[in-house]
Amino acid sequence: MKEPVVELTDIHLRAERGGFVFRGLNLTIESGQSAVIIGPSGSGKSTLAELLIGLRSADQGRVCLFGRELKKNRQFRRVRRLIGGVGGPFALVPSLTVAENICLPLVLNAEPRNVQRERLFRILSEFSLLKLAGKYPDHLTRVENTLVQFARAAIADQPLMLIDEPSAGLDPANYQRVTEFLVRMAVSGRSLLILASQTPPGDIPGSRAYFLRNEVLE
């Protein structure tokens, strides 16, 4: 049996203004499987992303990633390299160029320089970002910024991709490209966790859709 990549059990989280964001939320994503979580704005999608990367902690319940229960910041820091993130809490590092931003996961994994170059070129070509390689995030359009984030999330083959609002900032043509890219990622065996306000048009293979309503997933 495949080991779950994400396993959230009975998560309770109180909202700062009172009430609950999550009340008994459960979610399991097996390795190679994907999940699309759909919920309106303010339903807690971004909070769920923050919970998974350790920026928020649950009041009650278990957060397990890659088979390990995570409680402390230190434990979350260790698994972050296994997660490629786009949107929501994730952004580009302003002081690094597009190429440096995209290569960052490889630098952190201490990949050899030739591997970095080869993968960078491939990814830049795939997302048509070659001309932007030397630019800083301040000089990118919103579409370009999102594409660079996708490129960064794709380069290191991390087993889990966390995408908060994949359509945000993308025009229809680029959204189509990104959807095709996500399909390829899913087919290649990576797990995707997509948080969206509306049902994505493309069908992600091996994915399951959930609706975030009334503080739980349905």
């Binding site: 820091r77 630098v107 320089r113």
Partner: protein, 286 residues
């Protein structure tokens, strides 16, 4: 290696982005360390001066009139048994008279040709480690137990003043050292804080990508280490340049040994890294 290249590149970017801040930090630290170096040299020079003076300190003991010359050998033996006495010189009545004549002139001693009232004495050479008021007081007590001595004399007041002066120099040195360390720590930490204030978003994103705090902080720690180390080296370079231009020959200026200067520069560089970490620590919190 990959990470080292990244650190070097980030370090270069930081220095280019914040040239003014880095330069200001380097200059202010150089000035601080220069001040410390100058005090270090002054303290060493003054200490050497006092040690030279102390090495000339002699303890004189006068022999009681009742002791006959043939008993003097017994007194000699007892001196050498006292801790700290390296050697002694016997000064007979005639030798004392001759010395006095050298000092005040023979005319004043007219009439004292037949009778010489000057006492016989010993001048003791004391080991360097005993040239302090506590050890000399102990030695004085031991000398008082020697039969046949009437008086013991050495420059107690002068010694007390000398020791007081050395203690003050040491206290000022310590206070100055603490002040300079604190100023260097705060200044360097503040410099790094200023440099990284605009980088908060970037730090957060790097941590979210799985970078360790050490990884994020490293370019800044290296920068802080380099600036502090360079400031220490510059301080000494200025002093050695000044030395080549100086023509004071009356006072021997005592420079610390090279090994201590090297250790000082390394210590200061490490202190810079510590202060860099202090400047960054809030930025690296999750």
């Amino acid at each position: 290696m990959i990470r080292l290249a990244y650190f070097a590149r980030e370090l270069w970017h930081n220095l280019r982005r914040n040239t003014g801040t880095a330069l200001a930090s380097l200059l202010s630290l150089t000035l601080l360390f220069l001040l410390f170096d100058l005090f270090w040299i002054s303290a060493g020079t003054v200490d050497k001066f006092y040690r030279d003076l102390l090495s000339e300190l002699r303890v004189e003991v006068f022999v009681d009139e009742s002791v006959t010359d043939d008993r003097l050998t017994q007194v000699f033996d007892q001196f050498l048994a006292i801790d700290g006495v390296l050697d002694y010189e016997y000064v007979s009545r005639d030798a004392a008279r001759s010395r006095l004549a050298d000092m005040v002139g023979a005319d004043l001693l007219v009439g004292y040709d037949e009778s010489n009232p000057l006492p016989r004495s010993y001048v003791l050479t004391v080991a360097e480690s005993y040239l302090n008021s506590t050890a000399l007081a102990r030695m004085e007590e031991a000398l008082r137990e020697v039969d046949g001595l009437s008086e013991i004399h050495y420059s107690r007041q002068w010694l007390d003043k000398t020791e007081g002066t050395r203690a003050i120099i040491l206290e000022i040195g310590l206070a100055l050292g603490v002040l300079i360390v604190a100023a260097a720590l705060v200044g360097s930490a503040n410099n790094i804080r200023l440099m990284t204030r605009a980088q908060a978003v970037g730090f957060r994103q790097m941590l979210l990508q799985g970078a360790g705090r050490f990884f994020v902080a490293m370019p800044y720690l290296i920068e802080s280490l380099l600036i502090s180390g360079l400031a220490a080296i510059l301080g000494w370079a200025l002093i050695f340049y000044g030395r080549t231009r100086m023509s004071i020959v009356r006072i021997e200026i005592v420079f610390p040994p090279t090994s201590e200067i090297v250790l000082f520069c390394i210590g200061v560089a490490l202190l810079g890294a510590v202060s860099g970490y202090l400047g960054l620590r809030k930025m690296l919190r999750d």
